[in-house]
């Protein structure tokens, strides 16, 4: 049995599902599971962790932690964790986890296994699996030398256990011990889009120059709403000013690998293929039967997307709302 510390992650007053995953995995393997929750005015969240198996929640509250900052997080965490003597420290492999965990590892002077997709507990040791070569192979990782062992775990890989409302965790308030901070987060500017990012969801619908205008992307957005998908774009569409660069899928944009990728009015230049061809299922809609996109597509529709998409949307609605 190991003493495991999970670093919780929360946004907009809610704990992230990936945190429950890690707590569940650690507690499920019979470990003494601690959770560290950092922020300001987030005491209520601590109560949610007990049902997933947390034994103790260490609550660090400080105005300087209200907005996430890598420096404040790593300082507060190392101050807490050094005397606590954990065997294992876990965080989610999210943009936040990827940011502060390497700093924390450096402060503690130990190694870090990042982006792990499988986690095994063996006494006080960790056995991890992480994908290498763009997922073509898997490496099994163990640690050498003195601990603690640190790892970041990719979200949605270990699963969330059913919570047991009868279980509660002991909540301990801990001091922040931030000392003098060299940086301060003034504000977080949210991107104007309320839509999910193309790299974050299992379904992506992308449009190319074939959409002809920025307004026509509304049609893709409507379809995306039905499917809970993100809307992407080819470089040509971005260059034409139809979409912002952050939506660009391709070699020089975002590289995505969703479960379902729907390419609408995209010819499939290599620049685009390089960003999406590892998607599990690819559907292409294009008027040109010779377009290279059909070579990588699992399903192809040769036709006018302005007819195909509304039809598709109708059919999907019928399935969803019988």
């Amino acid at each position: 049995m190991a003493k495991v510390f999970v670093i919780a992650e929360h946004r907009a007053g809610r704990l992230k599902t990936s945190t429950f995953e890690l707590v569940g995995a650690a507690a499920g393997a019979g470990n003494e599971t601690h959770v560290v929750l950092l922020g300001d005015g987030i005491g209520e969240l601590a109560k949610e962790l007990g049902p997933y198996g947390a034994k103790t929640v260490h609550l660090i509250q400080d105005p300087a932690l209200k907005l996430y900052s890598a420096e404040a997080y790593s300082k507060a965490l190392s101050a807490l964790l050094k005397p606590a003597g954990p065997d294992i420290i876990l965080a989610s492999h999210t943009p936040t986890g990827r940011d502060f965990m390497p700093r924390l590892a450096a402060r503690l002077g130990v190694g870090l296994a990042s982006d792990c997709t499988q986690i095994g507990f063996n006494g006080t040791e960790l056995k991890l699996r992480r994908p290498v070569y763009a997922g073509k192979a898997t490496a099994e990782v163990e640690f050498m030398g003195p601990g603690p062992r640190m790892a970041t775990i990719r979200p949605n890989t270990v699963g969330v256990p059913a919570p047991d409302p009868a279980k509660t965790a002991e909540i301990v308030n801990a001091a922040a011990n931030l000392g003098t901070l060299k940086s301060k987060v003034l504000e977080v500017v949210k991107s104007s889009s309320s839509r999910p990012d193309v790299t974050e969801v299992p379904i992506v619908i992308s449009g190319g120059r074939g959409l002809k205008s920025a307004e026509n992307f509304k049609k893709l957005e409507d379809l995306a709403d039905v499917l809970g998908a993100a809307v992407g774009a080819s470089r040509a569409a971005v260059d034409a000013g139809f979409r912002p660069h952050r939506d660009q899928v391709g070699q020089t944009g975002k590289i995505v690998s969703p479960t379902l990728y729907i390419a609408c009015g995209i010819s499939g230049a290599i620049q685009h293929l390089a960003g999406m061809r590892t998607s599990k299922v690819i559907v292409a809609i294009n008027t040109d039967a010779e377009a290279p996109i059909f070579q990588v597509a699992d399903y192809g529709v040769v036709g006018d997307l302005f007819q195909v998409i509304p039809n598709l949307q109708e059919e999907l609605k019928k399935i969803k709302e019988p």
Binding site: Y133, A134, H245, T252, I255, A269, I270, A274, T278, P292
Partner: protein, 658 residues
Amino acid sequence: MTWQTFLFIPIAMAAFGYSGYRFYILFKLMLSHRARSGRTDQLGSRFKTSIINVLGQKAVLRKKTPGIMHTTLLWAFLLITVGTVEQFATTIYPPANFEFIGREPYWFLMLVQDIATLGVLVAVAYFSYRRFIVRPEGLGRSLDGTLVLTFTGTLKIALFLMNGFLLLGQHPWYASAMPVSELVAAGLSVLHFSPEINASLATLFKWVHMLIVLVFACYIPHSKHRHILFSVANTFFKSLSHSKSMTPINFEDESVQQYGAAKINDLSWKDALDYYSCTECGRCQDMCPAYNTQKPLTPKMLIVDLRENLYRNRNQLMNGKLEEVSPVIDENITDDVIWSCTSCRACEIACPVFVEHTNKIYDIRRNLVMMESRFPGEVQTVFKNLETNGSPWAFSPEDRLKWTEGLSIKTMSEDPKIDILFWVGCAGAFDDRNRKVIRAFASLLKKAEIRFAILGSEERCTGDAARRIGNEYLFQTLAKANIETLNRYQVKKIVTACPHCFNTLKNEYKDFGGNYEVIHHSEFIAQLIQEGKIKPTKALDASVTFHDSCYLGRWNNIYDEPRSVLEALPSARMVEMSQNRAESMCCGAGGGRMWMEEKLGKRINVTRTEQALGTNAEIIASSCPFCITMIKDGLTTKEMSDKVRVMDLAELVDQSTP
């Protein structure tokens, strides 16, 4: 000995002493540079090149009118300098005139000087007109340029006034050798001065001339006019070959602490000589595709700003306080400046004094990439793919054979008994558009009954992009892997349809033990047509313009072969873009730019496509997969894809050959 002797000697000594000291500082600063530059080989060729380009002004004359005027100025000044030396000598010791060369030669010397003086004034008038009235964009306006013109002009006016009063005052025996001065004298005679006053005024203007010469001598080391000395040296030390390879880094050398240039003195003495030689004429800027599409890079200002950086760090460098030298990336030379370069070398080819702009950019990129990990984010993907897949795109090496489906093309592992290896390249192997080019070229090879094979899954990216972006380590990894494969099959001869692969294989693998005869497919097709092995017979019946690839043209001086291929196509009507051959504009993909987003200014590929569309050609012919990709995108942007096609030479010849 006269009062003039005693007045002149101390003034001249002070002036030349100061000027000499300033030049000494410039020289010391040059020698404070860290990197080496082996430019002391082939002395014979270097002398020859120097004579052709300094005295012959070959490169300067590429621009016609300014070139002729500059040549006039140079030769006139050289001739007048003889007179100035005589003037200095006779001031110190009056009998020391040059009449000892004989009466006729001296008379002739005076004649050429008199005409040369007028020549300088004509040139000064032209350059003033150009600088202040025409105002070419690349030239810009600077106080320095104005001062140099003022000095040059007043020097000659003083000479004419001196000669004019001299002719009126004492009328020397060689007066008939000074027709222009005679005219001046005729004009001055209306003043009706006494002979004594005329003689005194002649002496006065002699002093005016001498003092301006001395002030000018002091000013030159501070001015771009220092090029009169440094550009001679720069021409002597220029790169002798048209083709160019980048300097390898020896990664085995464990004493090396730093790669690339972080500070100005990390560059080489030749780089400093480049800044000293630059006359800020702006020919480089006029040709730069980045500048012409509103990117922050201008090759001229890059050189000027590097020079400013060098001067700013003068005390630190002179006193050996190297740790206090400020970084080479500063408020002028920003990251965007460094990443805007497409490595097209239009600047270098345009430069009349052989400044090598791109070397500096590569050295700075090497430092940013290998020491600082500082580069456009999207490049990370390329590096990762090159490391794991051996291709800038994340395709499996096995997919390199996909284009051969149905063509029965052999790989080296299947049949190494061949005439020539066909190097396919990543674009040819993976990109659907360029696969068509490769298939067309393979078809031509078969029609010509050439025995060839490909490496197939054993081929890797040559590393061109990695090298140009600054990741020399990654480049060498790829190069060594490829050389190992090529040498294992004892490959002697390679043909490739990609100018980037071509340049790397031909010019850069030599440094790592890869010596092959490398031919670009445009040369190969031209040769096959010439030998009658391919006979294009089917009429093309279309107008064609040829877009020169930088790595074929400027990097390897191949301009005629692709054009001869197009001319061999029946009823192909060739039209040239105004920027063609050595002046061709880059498509925007070189120097690793293919793999970066173009967020600043107008897109280069669209600009070049507009130039091509301006010819009203129905076909834009190219011989480079990157150019094809960029121009194809340009045509899409201009919504001209259904009217104008971009095609490779191989495709055009193949469809015309039964």
